[in-house]
């Protein structure tokens, strides 16, 4: 059975142009899926729908067989515990006025997970490669890569089964980027990962499956290696040809 099922979802603003036109996705437990698209592909909107922040105009999203309903508070609480997100910009995703402890513990606090928060936060920090002694420090004391690790710690602290990542390494320097990709890869062994990015190189390095979005439609999806070796859709071909390569 699929973990998260997106069935023929459409989304558009009242002003006209549709952002998503009939998108269907099947994410199985343990999958590592990359959603690749450029600006205007609708990938950010799809992510908002998956998070239950916006509702689709038509079509449905279901999690473990239950329809995602942002108005059902009880369902959403269980859903939030299972589905967490890491954002692109590590500078705006951490509240500058809170300590690391308070930031990482937020899901535990808000979802009323009654266990030793301090202990759980320290464990999460260790599993993202940070010292557990940084609990009392503030975000501005850390580099971009370290901040992104803190954001990942917040996302995994409540033990979700699905981790969403929205361009989670795009704002990082190359040398930091590869380390965060390695961290995500390591985490993906124990949870399902949906990695949204415009950077097909990063997706190729991280994801077993790939979904190519263009202007609100899925143009191609399947096994990453197969698609990279033999892209079928003209857009995928153009995208791959556009990626700058290192000299041989």
């Amino acid at each position: 059975m699929s973990l998260l099922k997106v069935d023929n979802v459409t989304f558009g603003y009242s002003s006209g142009k549709s952002v998503l036109a009939g998108v269907s996705l099947d994410i199985g437990p343990g999958d590592t899926i990359g959603l690749v698209g450029e600006s205007g592909s609708g990938k950010s909107t799809l992510l908002r729908l998956l998070l239950g922040l916006t509702r689709p105009n038509s079509g449905s999203i279901s999690f473990n067989g239950t329809a995602l309903d942002p108005r059902n508070a009880q369902f959403m609480r269980a859903y939030r515990r299972q589905v967490q997100i890491v954002f692109q910009d590590p500078y705006s995703s951490l509240d500058p006025r809170q300590t690391v402890l308070s930031i990482v513990a937020e899901p535990l606090r808000s979802l009323k997970i009654a266990r030793d928060h301090r202990q759980m936060v320290m464990e999460a920090l260790v599993s993202v490669g940070l010292e557990p002694t940084i609990l009392g420090r503030y975000p501005h004391e850390f580099s971009g890569g370290q901040r992104q690790r803190i954001a990942i710690a917040r996302a995994i602290v409540a033990g979700p089964s699905l981790l969403l990542a929205d361009e989670a390494v795009s704002a990082l320097d190359l040398s930091t980027r590869i380390r965060i990709v390695e961290l995500l890869k390591q985490l993906s062994a124990s949870m399902t990962l949906v990695f949204v990015s415009h950077d097909i190189g990063v997706v190729a390095a991280l994801c077993e499956k790939i979904v190519i979005l263009e202007q609100g439609r899925i143009v191609e999806s399947g096994d990453t290696k197969t698609i990279l070796a033999n892209p079928q859709h003209p857009y995928t071909q153009r995208l791959l040809a556009s990626v700058p390569r290192m000299p041989a």
């Binding site: 998070l51 922040l53 959403m76 609480r77 939030r80 515990r81 589905v83 967490q84 997100i85 954002f87 692109q88 910009d89 705006s92 995703s93 951490l94 509240d95 500058p96 006025r97 809170q98 930031i103 937020e106 899901p107 606090r109 808000s110 979802l111 503030y138 501005h140 004391e141 954001a151 917040r154 409540a158």
Partner: protein, 284 residues
Amino acid sequence: MTTLDQIAAPNRRRRFGSLTLWAGIALVGIHIAVGLLTVVWSPYDPSGMTGGRLEAPSWLHWAGTDRLGRDFLTQIMIGSRIALIVGTGAAAIGAIIGVTLGLLAAFATKLLDDAFAATLDILIAFPTLLIAMLVVAAADTANLGSAIFALGIALSAIVARLTRILTKRVLLLDYITAARTSGTSWLGIVFRHILPNIWPTLSVSFALQFGLAAIAEASLSYLGLGAPPPNASWGRLLQEAQGTVYTAPIGAIAPGIALVSLVIGINLLADGLRDSVDPTRRAR
């Protein structure tokens, strides 16, 4: 690149910041000390005729006497108390009403928010003093309470507009979305994320409101709409000194200096406080 922003503010600001903080604390502290002192003690009975009329400053009367022969220094000191009560009260009322309305507007639907923003803009177009005068007139008894309430209402529009803009800006940031996807309620988001992040700017604004209220109260009293006579407001002292400004200039100068020193003090204090409550500006 970020490097330029980071180097734009050299350390001098921090040292300067603490200097303004201490100057502010000193000025406001003097007024608070004097204001508290007058509750239990003043040099003379404020309404007693303790000397000749319009005496010049002397050892007995450091700031001279007024035209009824009352000790002028006593009146100025009581003025500190009045100004602090009015400033604090009005700023607090303005803050409570303004922050609540501003937050509601920021969270409201587009249509409601637009209507709200337009209403605030119209309200702000009226001078604070005018609104306060209307409220006092509507209350039809002029006393300290009605003056505080009137000024609080008048200031709340400014606070509400600022709160609305600051909140909307914070709402766009990813950590708010992260809080939502962590299951934090809207009330939790307001108290845990929004208020702490808009507080530095708001607190500076509250201090400015305090200063505005102190000045506006003096103006109300000057016009005879403030606290009634036993309360020696600086505004009333200035008004009484108007006729004798050439013969006894101290009557106008002393309350003026008192008012200005309080307003400057509170502004310096606010500036200094903003730097010290912001973790990103604290020494690393």
